[in-house]
């Protein structure tokens, strides 16, 4: 049993008179299980993408050329870097450097905001060209293109919702760190928020090549 585990067991025993107790291992385990369900949620979409890519390979090929690789690449860099700053903020908190941790959390949030702003410009540019889900310009195009953009908007849309949820989560963690509720000895919730954020990043790593690069 590792030291960490020993401390855990002690913590459980000390608090066993009350039914609300702190168990960091359980909390991490619960978070991993939840992330597993998130992957399966996106898994359904990836499965659909796979089926339709086979069915409409030509149209997927041509539609992908219309996406803006430069903006996509910048967003990928943003998310990857934000994962790094997130991990650094946890490391900083574990070493008791509260100020540095706060700085890293804020930069993570900055990257998240940057990602959403670029996403906004990407989507509005598509709308300006009449590529609106259910819009007449789009539905009159070949079926494969309708499906491509259907997949594009639903997958990146669901991902964007996850970016927002993750950012809100991190915002709360920022508050807790500033208030000292999360500190050197109690950082599990920040680590959980970090895990969630890495998942958001991970899904984008798959979305980016599937939509922007494969053509």
């Amino acid at each position: 049993m590792s030291d960490n585990n020993m401390i855990q067991e002690q913590a459980i025993q000390e608090h066993s008179h009350s039914h609300v107790h702190r168990d960091d291992i359980a909390s991490k385990m619960g978070m991993w299980l939840f992330l597993f369900t998130e992957i399966l949620l996106f898994g359904g979409l990836f499965l659909l993408y796979l089926a339709y890519r086979f069915q409409y390979s030509q149209e997927f090929f041509t539609s992908a050329k219309n996406l803006n690789i430069v903006l996509g690449t910048i967003n990928t860099i943003f998310l990857l870097t934000s994962s790094l700053t997130m991990a650094l903020s946890i490391a900083a908190l574990q070493r008791g450097n509260k100020k540095l941790s706060i700085a890293f959390i804020i930069s993570t949030l900055g990257f998240a905001l940057g990602f959403m702003i670029i996403k906004y410009f990407e989507w509005t540019a598509k709308f300006a060209h009449g590529i609106i889900p259910g819009g007449e310009t789009l539905t009159s195009r070949p079926h494969g293109e309708v499906i491509f953009y259907g997949m594009y908007f639903s997958m990146t849309g669901l991902h964007a919702i996850h970016v927002i949820v993750g950012a809100v989560l991190i915002l709360f963690m920022l508050r807790f760190v500033i208030k000292g509720k999360l500190n050197k000895d109690n950082y599990q919730r920040l680590e959980n928020a970090g895990l969630y954020w890495h998942l958001v990043d991970l899904i984008w790593i798959f979305l980016f090549p599937l939509f922007y690069l494969l053509h």
Partner: protein, 553 residues
């Protein structure tokens, strides 16, 4: 909780020590026992509503043509009956009520690992339920797609589809959170000495179920979301007019919804494995095989979904493969049934109500399972697909299997939950009435279906009328039995005679603490020293002996 002439001398979870009003103390509780009861009350409400809808549907079938309601109302009714029964009663049923109440006690824990998340799951469940039935009262009318929401009809119909779908999504979320909570609880909060192979089999079943909830539910979640998005924005993913493939919807839907039937049946099998040793006074036969077969069912259950699509136009090769894998499910199920029967063999059987229901279960579920073999054979399935045969098969497994055992579990654990006893004689009689009514109602449907009566029709050809009338008579008997059973349980919970802590002579942990359980379950941490279900030399778990009181004191 109601008026009672006797209050329990020990501090228990039903007492309100919070300083809040009684109602608020329940709505803000994080106690797993209270949350279990709140699920129970929610479920009684939803089950009652869906049963009422079912009664009206059955009465409509008394005569060909219109009897009570018009065709559109009938469409809405079979949709709502299915939706409420499946998403609000039978999927969350046993895990949320009895899993919440009993499982933490059985592993020697004071609560589940995330008590506040547990309360949140209950609120999600209730809000999801309200969303699901709200469409009844909105303009446009209630959803009429059937509980499977098949596209493209669910995209085209003008009834309220989005709201109930959102409800199903929220309820699914509630199930995921409960699943995560239970898996983590079983990993982290077992008492000292409680190894995995000393866990009561009900805990094993809840564990396997929780995993299916975690793994399967997200897939139907995204499918439901995509139907909503399809309706709102016409993205084309499931709409054949825009190039989408409706078959993909069916695949994604059944990838969840088939494992979901194991979410329903596994906990029921767990309860059977608890009741049989207690009333046979004998250790369970083949403990490890029963535990492993739960996991095997959960695993195989993942690879059989397309047997719901034998007539949807999928390829012959995949039909054969899915048919073969479907037959494999019979192996772990058979292992369980044979082990149960072997446990009863040469046992000192005490035939009380819970065991009576278990006996009913073995009979009814065997019929349900064996007719499942008929539906999973490719050739016969073509003939009986979408007929009353399927409806009968489904109700034999779901009601005859799951709901009967949920009733058995409520009889078995009622003295633990409320510290009071129901009337044994009335319980036996109501069980017998339910059994007769159930068979009369649903066995007739097997014959109707075999003769070609299609499901989901509000009218029929005159030659089917005799059997329909027989079935309706069965329904009336069945409902009477259900009412007597519910009356007996509710009366027992409120005013029944005080029950002893261990009325059945059970050996698992929940029978070693007072009834109703103290707020934190155990005054002293239990220690497990040997295998569970040892009736010759039962484990005392290091707990003080509880005063035994007679049932009719």
């Amino acid at each position: 909780m109601g008026k009672s002439e006797f209050t329990f001398s020990h501090d228990n979870y039903l007492n309100n020590n919070t300083g809040k009003s009684n109602l608020m103390s329940w709505l803000t509780t994080t106690d797993h026992k209270r949350i279990g009861l709140m699920y129970l009350y929610g479920m009684i409400f939803f089950f009652g509503l869906a049963m009422l809808i079912g009664v009206v549907m059955k009465l409509e079938m008394l005569t060909p043509g219109k009897t009570l309601i018009d065709a559109q109302t009938y469409n809405a009714f079979f949709t709502l009956h299915g939706m409420i029964m499946i998403f609000l009663f039978i999927i969350p049923g046993i895990p949320a009520v009895l899993g919440n109440f009993i499982m933490p006690i059985q592993i020697g824990a004071k609560d589940v690992i995330f008590p506040r998340l547990n309360l949140m799951s209950w609120y999600f469940y209730i809000f999801g339920g309200i969303f699901a039935i709200a469409s009844l009262f909105l303009s446009g009318g209630p959803i009429d797609t059937g509980w499977t929401f098949y596209v493209p009809y669910s995209i085209r119909t003008n009834t309220n589809v989005i709201l109930p779908l959102l409800g199903a999504f929220i309820i699914g979320f509630s199930g995921i959170l409960t699943g995560i909570n239970f898996v983590t609880t079983i990993h982290r909060l077992r008492a000292k000495g409680m190894t995995f192979f000393r866990l009561p089999l009900f805990v094993w079943a809840i564990y396997a179920t929780a995993w299916i909830q975690i793994i399967a539910t997200p897939v139907v979640g995204i499918t439901i979301v995509l139907v909503i998005v399809e309706r709102l924005f016409s993205i084309g993913i499931f709409d054949p007019a825009l190039g989408g493939d409706p078959l993909l919807f069916q695949h994604l839907f059944w990838i969840y919804s088939h494992p979901a039937v194991y979410i329903m049946i596994l906990p029921a099998m767990g309860i059977v494995s608890e009741i049989i040793p207690t009333f046979a006074k004998r250790t369970i036969f083949g403990y490890k095989m029963i535990a492993y077969s739960s996991l095997a069912i959960a695993f195989i259950g993942y690879f059989v979904w397309a047997h719901h699509m034998f007539n949807s136009g999928i390829s012959d090769l995949s039909r054969m493969i899915f048919s073969l894998i479907t037959f494999l499910v019979a192996i772990p199920s058979g292992i369980k049934v044979f082990n149960w029967v072997a446990t009863l063999y040469k046992g000192s059987i005490v035939f009380k109500t819970p065991l009576f229901y278990v006996a009913m279960f073995i009979f009814l579920f065997s019929i349900g399972g064996l007719t499942g073999m008929i539906t999973s054979s490719l050739a016969t399935d073509v003939h009986i697909s979408d007929t009353y045969f399927l409806v009968a098969h489904f109700h034999y497994t779901m009601f005859g299997g799951v709901a009967i055992i949920m009733i058995a579990g409520l009889h078995y654990w009622l003295p633990k939950m409320y510290g009071r006893m129901y009337n044994e004689k009335l319980a036996m009689w109501s069980g017998a009435i339910i059994f007769v009514g159930f068979n009369l109602m649903y066995f007739t449907m097997f014959i109707l279906g075999y003769q070609g009566m299609p499901r989901r029709f509000w009218s029929y050809l005159p030659q089917y009328q005799t059997l329909h009338i027989v079935s309706v008579v069965g329904m009336v008997i069945f409902v009477m039995g259900m009412i007597v059973m519910a009356y007996n349980l509710i009366r027992g919970a409120r005013k029944g005679p005080i029950a002893p802590a261990n009325p059945w002579g059970g050996v698992t942990l929940e029978w070693r603490i007072p009834s109703p359980p103290p707020t934190l379950n155990f005054d002293k941490d239990p220690v497990v020293t040997r295998e569970v279900y040892d009736f010759t030399n039962p484990d005392d778990y290091g707990l003080p002996k509880i005063e035994e009181r007679g049932i009719n004191e």
